[in-house]
């Protein structure tokens, strides 16, 4: 497996916002400062262990909801509101992951992940969260694509699952949340209205996968 994993649609993290994601049971906070570059850190405030994804972005810093400690893009704690005059020691830092933005997706990588993939731009469809192992979801998508859209033509090989179906081109990245939970990050071509019209088919896929994994468990 490559050292880089897609964990969200880039469009789902606008400037000035923060989101929590789970990758193989590791909690990660994604946030974007006002200027736009994404950041990915361990989802724990070094102070009291609060999830940083519960916090908010203010003046290009991620602020912990618990005591208001503020962290800059360089991971350093820049302000402790209870001690506003304190020159905060530079050892107080959030723990970073590597992060990259390509193909309309946000990717995280471990320290030794190497170069991130370099993919063409793609338009967001949605992130689909499924109660099933990632392998099950991928296999289902490779064989049938989205329910009700007809024949699936798989295209090439690469870090994303790419296929044509029903007059649409799809590129899908997946990430494992846990042994029985995963997310598929779907991008597509076409107008926003055409992509909006595909949302019911993605919901149908979620229902199918759920029914299938229930059947497997029974």
């Amino acid at each position: 497996m490559s050292g880089w994993t897609p964990v969200a649609l880039a469009a789902d993290l606008p400037p000035g916002t923060v989101a929590g994601v789970v990758l193989r049971s590791e909690e990660i906070v994604l946030w974007r400062d006002g200027a736009g570059p994404p950041h990915a850190w361990k989802d724990r405030c070094p102070h009291r262990g609060m999830k940083l994804s519960f916090g908010f972005v203010r003046r290009d810093r991620l602020v912990c909801l618990y005591h208001g400690w503020e962290y800059g893009a360089d991971t350093r704690c820049a302000l402790i509101p209870a001690h506003p005059d304190l020159d905060v020691p530079e050892t107080i830092r959030a723990t970073p992951w590597q992060v990259a933005e390509t193909g309309g997706l946000l990717w995280v990588g471990s320290r030794d992940a190497g170069q991130p993939p370099d993919l063409p731009e793609a338009m967001p469809l949605r992130s689909l969260f499924l109660d099933a192992p990632l392998d099950t979801a991928r296999t289902r998508l490779r064989s049938g694509g989205l329910p009700g859209l007809g024949e699936v033509d798989l295209i090439g090989d690469g870090p994303l699952l790419r296929f044509a179906q029903g007059g649409h081109l799809f590129a899908v990245g997946g990430h494992e949340i846990g042994p029985a939970a995963c997310a598929l990050h779907l991008t597509s071509d076409g107008t926003a209205a055409a992509r909006a019209a595909l949302v019911p088919a993605t919901a149908a896929l979620r229902r199918e996968v759920r029914a299938q994994s229930r059947g497997a468990a029974a």
């Binding site: 929590g20 994601v21 969260f129 997310a183 926003a192 909006a196 919901a203």
Partner: protein, 204 residues
């Protein structure tokens, strides 16, 4: 128009929806705190005379007593100087307001079970299913460039739905699997006049 009295419990999500609607609409209300937990004031004879089902919120204006949350939200929107735009005046807005009342009510029961031991713990599964349906809706709305559940601007339906998602962590459901709802909740939090509640801070 006289100032109505809103009987409210700070930790109840339906009461919060009413306070939020009043704040965003600019409707003046007098708050009357009800001691639901641990005081069980909703079970008292005096309260039952006002609200026979023993539920908060209640909106009282003279002889007119409203006990259904969606009727209260709509009335508060009608009263506020900024509230006309919030009124559910399209079929879809009304449809999603009723979705909040019927399908997403499971979120309130799940939360009551987790916080007060008075709800229904089995409701968590129903509430998650309803939130997934809402996530699908807001995903499609977002792609169409409409930021809210029934249009480009927020309405009473959004405010009725908002607490069920925003407070879901109280009953153990995180927001990781709901990117469209997360962005929609942020849009609601950015509205001028937004107020929070305990467990849901209004970011400074």
């Amino acid at each position: 128009m006289s100032v109505p009295v809103l009987w409210t419990y700070d930790l109840d999500e339906a009461c919060y929806a009413a306070r939020l609607t009043a704040a965003l609409a600019g409707a003046e209300v007098t708050l009357r705190a009800v001691d639901v937990v641990p005081g069980a004031e909703t079970g008292s004879a005096a309260f039952r005379a006002l609200s026979p089902m023993g539920r908060v919120p209640v909106l009282v204006d003279g002889k007119v007593v409203l006990t259904q949350t969606e009727a209260i939200l709509t009335d508060l929107a009608r009263r506020g100087e900024r509230g006309a735009a919030l009124l559910p005046d399209t079929p879809e807005a009304l449809d999603w307001l009723i979705f909040a009342a019927r399908d997403l009510s499971a979120a309130g029961r799940a939360r009551a079970a987790a916080l007060f031991g008075t709800g229904d713990a089995r409701a968590a599964g129903e509430a998650r299913a309803a939130l997934l349906v809402l996530e699908d809706r807001l995903t499609a709305q977002g792609l169409r460039g409409a930021g809210f559940v029934a249009g480009n601007t927020p309405g009473v339906a959004d405010l009725a739905l908002f607490p069920g998602f925003a407070l879901s962590r109280d009953w153990g459901l995180g927001h990781e699997a709901f990117p469209a709802l997360r962005l929609w909740a942020r849009r609601i939090r950015m509205l001028p006049g937004f107020v929070g509640m305990p467990g849901l801070p209004a970011f400074p």
